[in-house]
Point group: C2
Chain length 221, copies 2
Amino acid sequence: MSENRIKIVEKILNANERLAEQNLERFDNTNTYAINLMASPGAGKTSFILATIHALLEDQVRIGVVEGDTAPVTIDSDKIMAAGMPAVQINTGGECHLDALMVEGALAQLPLDALDLVLVENVGNLICPAAFDLGTHSKIVIASIPEGDDKPYKYPNIYRGLDVLIINKIDLLPYLDFNMDYFRQGLEMLNPGLETFALSCKTGEGLQDWLFWLKNKLPRK
Amino acid sequence: MSENRIKIVEKILNANERLAEQNLERFDNTNTYAINLMASPGAGKTSFILATIHALLEDQVRIGVVEGDTAPVTIDSDKIMAAGMPAVQINTGGECHLDALMVEGALAQLPLDALDLVLVENVGNLICPAAFDLGTHSKIVIASIPEGDDKPYKYPNIYRGLDVLIINKIDLLPYLDFNMDYFRQGLEMLNPGLETFALSCKTGEGLQDWLFWLKNKLPRK
């Protein structure tokens, strides 16, 4: 990598930090809690968002969603809107992660004053999203049982910077060789004491503990 | 993105093309067939390589493996060497894909003259690896049933440039809502007539068709 390129990459990251701070300020000024949701493709980010929306309907929690995709598809944002919540779709144009500027653009299209929570669904990728702060209050990764128990060892960066880890698709545990102890040892090495919730968005098992954690974070409007 | 950055990215891609051509020449001169294997994290790349190695043992096919990881872990290369085949591990140092230069370095450590096949296991990622040719004869993506049936729609670039698609973990079909027709429609739109093999590395179901395809590609040494 040339020295020029390194300088340019540094400039991009610094600009991102600045914009991330502005996004955070925006969330705080409108009293909205924000989460950056990261995961592999197919770990269940959208199912997790939908399960959270449905579970919080009776508490009248208003949730806005920012959907990051590498292509101009509205599959996920259509599902969110069908669940009655506002969603903005970001097409990264092939880029492998969201950045703070993209999120800033999306926030301009969400009624933040009327929302309690913003869930930002990052591009499905365990590598690039780890390097770009979006200005959210917390970063959550969704791991899933079929991905295997060695992922913390192989993708350490994304597990290091996390606030919460969701372990999704536990309904598939009987059909797979997933060693939960080995998985948790890897986690503990990278991010000691990390809050984790093992659950199934399909059956609803384990969802209550996650919802309890989340409700405690939501501001009173 | 600044004009400077675009120029630099173009230079990097052009340099990669040149090195990829040299890698291809290297494979051809040593009469070795080479495959670039791409997939999401946890789709089963290493299991697929191991299943292929074991199935071809009796035919005395010699397989070398290049293992790409974003961290200095030897979990996968250890498994390959335990199966009796030479493996070289590349640590990309956080980079989200392999490139032709990294592969060139790895090839210097493999006994190409004594090999029939080189399998390059790319970093687990459905986005970045699509942009970097490694100089292999074919590009294969491994999709897996638990990732869901919408992946071709969401990650079109990687499905467009493919020669073969493996659909792994079909043993999990009874436990998941995976619409194979919807998945195949997406594929057909992006890559008409693409060769696909649906199989399970765990049960061995469907592996024969893949092996038949592969054996036809292998040179006679």
